[in-house]
């Protein structure tokens, strides 16, 4: 008889929003952004087309909300290793481990994110933020390498970043038969991260 309470409504909204995002992510990852229609997303989320627009201003806004989540995940990963007071090469190894784990756990998701990074129009808004992020990352790694007395720490940092992204790129394309674990171990050895 009486209308729902604020809390009930908030809960409903949160769940609907999440289920739409999750359906969209799944489809975007499987078949790309442009080849996924709002109708499909609605069907996948067992929701009407119209409802999607209760929660997202547009198809693109929906995509952006997904990207934002991804970026938060990345930011937090980096953050977790910033204040470390342990051996720098150890920190580096841990960062690498975490990143590799993340991608291995959900390769389709990261394939989507990588794929989106080629969509000029979609990424324009995030470009700056991503660039900042990249610079921060390289800076952090450089710092670690300096503390570890590595020569040419900045180039080395960029190389490690490129190498990681290259490996993940290959893994994403080739799939489970790619020897991800071996490469992870090899990279650590080769770049001097497991001297101990």
């Amino acid at each position: 008889m009486s209308p729902r309470t604020r809390d009930q409504i908030d809960e409903i909204r949160k769940q609907s929003r999440a289920s739409i995002q999750s359906a969209a992510l799944k489809l975007f990852a499987k078949q790309g952004f442009h080849n996924t229609s709002i109708s499909e997303i609605a069907r996948e989320a067992s929701v009407s087309k119209g409802l999607i627009y209760n929660y997202f201003d547009s198809k693109e806004a929906l995509l952006k909300s997904i990207i934002e989540s991804a970026m938060n995940v990345g930011n937090q990963l980096i953050g977790r290793h910033l204040d470390s007071s342990q051996d720098p090469m150890q920190s580096l190894a841990e960062m690498l481990d975490e990143a590799f784990d993340m991608v291995e756990a959900n390769p389709k998701y990261w394939k989507l994110i990588m794929s989106l990074s080629f969509h000029q129009d979609v990424m324009a808004r995030f470009k700056d933020e991503i660039d900042q992020q990249q610079i921060k990352n390289i800076g952090l790694i450089t710092g670690l390498l300096e503390r570890a007395n590595v020569e040419e720490p900045e180039k080395e940092a960029m190389l490690i970043a490129a190498m990681s992204d290259g490996i993940l790129l290959h893994f994403i394309h080739i799939g489970p038969q790619y020897p991800l674990s071996e490469m992870r171990a090899y990279i650590k050895e080769r770049m001097g991260m497991n001297r101990i």
Copy 2:
């Protein structure tokens, strides 16, 4: 008024085909596949929409013909270094140089190709061929490294491949301010390609 000869017709066909491909490539590279319409391609190629369908069965077929060209370029690059009888690390360095030069000369094109590599549907047909290619590449590099008595030649080969792709990935995203030449030099040094 006299009918064109077979040869003239063939020549005309070849040129029309090429100018359509070139216009399409330019636009795909600039604004992506989905954001480029057949009308735009026709306009860019100074040709009617209908004519495009004389040469290509569909928009997607046109795209595939472009990808095929790209793959030929890649194949030939590899081929040029297969029979080399010179110092293996030198061969490797040359391959790297050539690949980097190629991407540096036309980054938008390779950005497009990389971006397309994420389109499952478009790439499905090429998947096998690309995989073969990759295996051949890795095999070749492994061979070179074996001849150069490098330890773990296969892992090293995969690492070099990943590293190269990673650097090119970063270059493609960041643009001209990425220190491509320095990284190229550094990678050679770091991976032992310029011992001489």
Copy 3:
């Protein structure tokens, strides 16, 4: 917690209904019927969308209820001058004054009403009533003019009606810089309403 009395409920209903009508009128007048959504009306009236349907069967029914009010206003204006026993030209002048005042006081509202008079579908139901009204008006004016011994009283009546509507039409379109007062004075003079 005690249930509301019948009277309280009636009072609440009346007020809710009125505030919805008033919000709708304001928005319809500002931006037109088709460009005003139920959501906007609900927001403007600080009421939920659902509640509007407690009081009105549809958006169109809401509009019609507003038109009905407008027509009542018009009817009453006419009514106030029907039984007048004073000088007929004076009555005419007063009617004119009142009508002009009304429009001047709320031009957007009357613009809406005029605009709606072009919506065949909306007005169909009111057509007869309006026609009756018009005939009554013309009849009344004709009667006044007869009593004032004007020649061709019916044509003159129709001319006065047309002239008034024409002036109001121009005023509504042009806005405040239209010399409404002067025209009002001039029309009275020109049509012989201020002989005294």
Copy 4:
């Protein structure tokens, strides 16, 4: 075998464009702009939805092209009487005749145009032009009245304009049973246009 010539194409385009405009006009006039869908227009014009967009950028652009035609008609009507060297009241009478004839010949069309003049959004672009037009009209009539030594020529001009528009407004609403011819004659007599 060979493609159509420029002339053939121009002819085709002209006809298609015209038939779309004519269908749109008919439907807009019958049921209003907002209540007419592109699909309906296409059906009425026996043409595909898509074709409409070959000729008009949007539904609104289609509407505007129709309004523009109407304004041209109006402008030309005025123009035909600007340089007249005959008796000014005679000119005025002719202008009136022509305008009345025009509306009588096609009342639905002019009903649409009048109705559109209430669509703030649609008319915004034409506001200035229309205002200029109105001022020019009033100016012209004022000039004629001055030459005819009428007192208060400007107010008289505005009154004549208002009166005409008012009569046409009534005619448009009431339809054929409105005594348009009588009113036209009466207005001329009443405003002193047939002294001769």
